[in-house]
């Protein structure tokens, strides 16, 4: 009997693991899950409730919550497009021409990717498992144990996500559209919450457990029990839970069977391939070129008809690529294209709704501190909660925008056009900036709606305006400019991501440990309070000065990016009697530096 690793299934499985090992997403997910486990271990509910961090009950209680939080989205990221990727890369004809059956191909793909997903998810219980040996004051730890981590992980996470994975994989493979999968992943939360609220809540406990795919209603006999009791509790699964899990596995099997029945290895016929006119070209010959017998090809009747017709002349047009007006028009055109391309980014469908959801969820349970005005408190909370996401969005989408032209090999065509470099750079900068502003405005509007809905009045728009104009917008400008500069200087989006993550993480660590200063805190993290958004604020001059400092730094970074941009248009600082692009860059860099030094000195005083 052949070893499974030497079968076609084994080859496809291994290839999927290999392909995923070269993607950023699995590593990012693993890091995120590890970080999540670290937070829940040290600063989670165990400490506040007196539960042992390695008690059987606490481990079992954490798993469904972890499963619910963001995992449906991450499952979609891994499971949504394995087959789509093959079609997109054009590998399918090579694979399908080999003696590989549909079932082998689909199962190899599915289980290869599911294995990667489980490996990423496993980082969560593994981190908890390892932290049994890490002492921390205020945490209760029982003698180390092994089995509960993996038993609960298998029952409560792996089986749940097997079904989700099967659904996403089926939808992605059959529609060949990753956006539909991501849309499905995002809509999971409203659907699941509605299902819980409208259907499950009214059912007896037994049915609530049996019909809950995430087992969020699993009470584990814990209601009203003391921490001492729960720490000694050994969790076991009753027949309802096991029936639920068996049904989940069966459902996954049914989805995969449906996929097997519906999936076709035959190339889909594109609309344009059906259209006879499109297989010809209207470069009608006045003469037949010698050496190539074009008449030897059978032409459809309509082509012959076209050949007899009149040739369309290419009209002469006026061109203007000099002057401010022409450059602005080019910039507008480039910005329009960048926004269109940005809206087609798959990450946008996942990242921005998730960020919005999390920000709004944070605001929904937020209670203002006595002494603050409601509006100032809400506006401040909004600014604080979106800042971290803004940094992530600015870094990620700037990286995508700056690397896109190279990845799609559009650069030779674009760069041979007579558009100035600043048009190409500023369009990317502005597109990301607009995206960040739009995201923060959506959260801001949600915060206003929540504030009014919860009756936390009076509502004052000025506090929101101050939060946006003084805190958020200048920070977004700086973050995006820094991301553009990093991407241009490093010329690799992944290195830029890593660098941003490292610098951002290090600064956050320093700020949280008290090493916080206005001069090296461009986003004002921890340096302002809700009181600064009221009319009685005493700190406003300092904040305004700092924002000018921050904008000057942003301008300096953008000029630096322009100066170091790979595409060269002129040599020297002057060209044809005027300042060249490099000349303008140096001039703006000098002015920005002077402004930054002056405002920096004012801040330091």
């Amino acid at each position: 009997m052949r070893s499974p690793t030497r079968t076609a299934f084994g080859a496809i499985f291994r290839n999927e693991v290999l392909l995923n090992s070269k993607r950023v997403a699995p590593y990012a997910m693993a890091a995120l899950f590890g970080g999540n486990a670290l937070l829940w271990w040290g600063w989670g509910p165990a400490a506040s409730r007196g539960l042992a961090t390695n008690s059987d009950h606490f481990i079992a209680e954490m798993m469904p919550v972890f499963s619910f939080m963001t995992l449906p989205l991450f499952t979609a990221v891994i499971m949504g497009d394995p087959v789509i990727r093959d079609f997109r890369a054009g590998v399918t004809p090579l694979i399908f021409s080999k003696p590989v059956g549909r079932a082998t191909y689909l199962l190899g793909k599915f289980f290869g990717n599911f294995f990667v997903l489980v490996c990423c998810q496993l980082v969560f219980p593994l981190t908890f498992f390892l932290f049994q040996w890490v002492p921390k004051s205020g945490l209760l730890v029982q003698p180390p144990r092994v089995l509960p981590y993996f038993k609960h992980f298998l029952i409560l996470i792996v089986v749940t996500h097997l079904v989700l994975a099967a659904v996403y994989f089926t939808v992605g493979t059959l529609t060949r559209n990753a956006k539909i999968v991501y849309g499905l992943a995002v809509s999971f939360y409203p659907l699941y919450i509605s299902y819980q609220t409208l259907l499950l809540r009214s059912l007896p406990t037994r049915w609530r457990i049996a019909l809950d795919p995430l087992l969020m209603n699993l009470s584990l006999n814990a209601r009203g029990r003391s921490a001492e009791f729960l720490n000694q509790l050994a969790v076991s699964y009753d027949s309802d839970v096991l029936a639920n899990r068996a049904a989940m596995i069966l459902a996954a099997g049914l989805f995969l069977t449906f996929l097997y029945v519906r999936f076709s290895m035959v190339e889909r016929v594109r609309k344009e391939e059906d259209d006879g006119r499109l297989t010809t070209i209207d470069l009608r010959p006045d003469r037949v070129v010698s050496g190539v017998e074009s008449s030897s090809f059978d032409r459809p009747a309509q082509v012959e008809e076209v050949i007899r017709g009149e040739r369309v002349a290419i009209p002469k047009v006026g061109t203007a690529s000099e002057g401010v007006g022409a450059s602005l028009e080019q910039l507008t055109a480039a910005l329009g294209i960048e926004l269109r391309l940005l809206s087609a980014e798959r990450g946008l469908v996942v990242l921005v709704p998730t960020a919005t959801l999390l920000c709004v969820a944070g605001l929904a349970y937020f209670e203002a501190v006595p002494g603050e005005t409601h509006t100032a408190a809400y506006a401040a909370r909004t600014a604080e909660s979106v800042l971290l996401f803004l940094a992530a969005i600015a870094v990620f989408f700037t990286g995508e925008a700056t690397a896109r032209d190279r990845e799609l090999r559009v650069e030779p065509v674009l760069w041979s056009a007579p558009a100035p470099n600043f048009v190409l750079l500023l369009s990317k900068f502005s597109a990301t900036l607009l995206l960040c502003v739009a995201f923060s405005l959506v959260v801001g509007l949600a915060a206003i709606a929540l504030q009014i809905f919860r009756g936390h009045t009076p509502f004052e728009i000025s506090a929101y305006l101050k939060a946006y104009s003084l805190i958020l917008i200048p920070s977004i400008v700086f973050l995006t400019a820094a991301a553009v500069a990093l991407n241009v200087l490093l010329r690799d989006k992944y290195v830029a991501y890593a660098m941003s993550f490292a610098v951002g993480g290090a600064l956050l660590y320093l700020f949280n440990n008290g090493y916080n200063h206005w001069l090296y805190n461009p986003v004002l993290y921890g340096l302002w309070t809700p009181a600064d958004l009221t009319d009685a604020a005493s700190n406003q001059t300092l904040i305004i000065t700092h924002r000018i400092y921050c904008l000057a730094m942003a301008s300096l970074l953008l000029s630096l990016a322009h100066l170091c941009f790979e595409r060269k248009s002129t040599k020297g600082l002057r060209s044809q009697g005027r300042l060249s692009g490099a000349g303008w860059s140096l001039l703006i860099m000098s002015l920005s530096t002077v402004t930054a030094v002056i405002t920096g000195l004012m801040i330091n005083v």
């Binding site: 297989t279 290419i314 294209i337 559009v410 674009l414 002129t570």
Partner: protein, 295 residues
């Protein structure tokens, strides 16, 4: 007229792509022939202002392309060997965008221009389709359309017919011939000899970063007239011939035997050989080196 003077380029990897290339390209179609890795694309990229040479210069009608890239880009139409397009944009959106970057800012003019270009490359009915769904030939046609925006004085087409079917190839050649006029230089970089012999008034052959021949196709043929011989021989005999001093320009397997074309200016190379009509391919192989032989 395009003038290339003493152009050199060495890549950071140490590869010397151009070794003092000097070339004069008059208005009309000009073919640049050479095997893969000869330096064609490097030369094209420098002429398209996308690559800085180490030394030397390129001028078109007196404008220094290296020093005044922006001016050069205004008169340039470029169809790279490998290029991509934004998959989520339609053909029409792509052309509008590139036309704006080219400086065609008047809406009415631009619409008329794009209408005509789409018509000429027969993409009118696919104008609203996303480029991501285009076939290779359709993408190439869109590439051709964008290179024609704004009456370019110099059009550089680098291996343009890859991915086109024979019929489209012929029509593409005809379009290029129409565009190449008194005031327009069209440089066709290719390794397909028949493309050059069909289209170009002048040609050059580049090998290992050096121009080894520059003439008209007619002159090239004249240089080998009466010196090309052909024979169909058993394989063993061909191997023996290769060891002799005879200059074999091409050899090809045919029904189990090898059809050999040889260059011999003064005498008949052997009894099996008979005189053959020369082709540009013979000239190319005799100058650029022997093709892969059938052995």
């Amino acid at each position: 007229m395009l003038a290339v003077k003493e152009l050199t380029k060495t890549y950071p990897s140490g590869v010397r792509a151009l070794k003092g290339v000097t070339l004069e390209v008059p208005a009309g179609m000009f073919g640049l022939l050479g095997p893969n890795g000869a330096g064609k694309t490097t030369l094209m990229k420098i002429a398209a202002t996308l690559l800085e040479p180490d030394s030397g210069g390129v001028e078109i009608d007196g404008v220094d392309l290296i020093a005044h890239k922006k001016s050069a880009r205004r008169m340039l139409g470029y169809l790279p060997q490998e290029f991509g397009l934004y998959p989520t944009l339609t053909a029409e959106q792509t052309l509008h965008y590139l036309a704006k970057l080219k400086g065609v800012l008047d809406d009415k003019e631009r619409r008329a221009l794009i209408e005509a270009l789409l018509e000429r490359v027969n993409l009118s009915s696919a104008r609203a389709q996303k480029v991501g769904g285009f076939s290779g030939g359709m993408r190439q046609r869109l590439g051709i359309a964008q290179a024609l925006i704004g009456q370019p004085r110099m059009i550089i087409v680098d291996e343009p017919t890859a991915g086109l079917d024979p019929e489209e190839r012929v029509r593409f050649h005809n379009l290029l011939s129409e565009i190449a006029g008194e005031n327009t230089v069209v440089i066709l970089s290719t390794h397909i000899v028949s493309d050059v012999s069909n289209l170009c008034g002048r040609m050059a052959i580049i090998r290992q970063g050096e121009i080894i021949a520059s003439c008209t196709p007619r002159e090239a043929m004249g240089r080998i007239t009466g010196a090309i011989w052909e024979a169909t021989l058993p394989r063993e005999k061909v191997l023996a011939l290769k060891k002799s001093r005879l200059r074999i320009v091409s050899s090809q397997m045919f029904e189990g035997r090898v059809r050999v074309r040889a260059y011999s200016k003064d005498e008949r190379p052997g009894e099996e050989f008979s005189p053959a009509l020369p082709s540009l391919e013979d000239y190319y192989f005799s100058v650029a080196g022997q093709p892969e032989s059938a052995n």
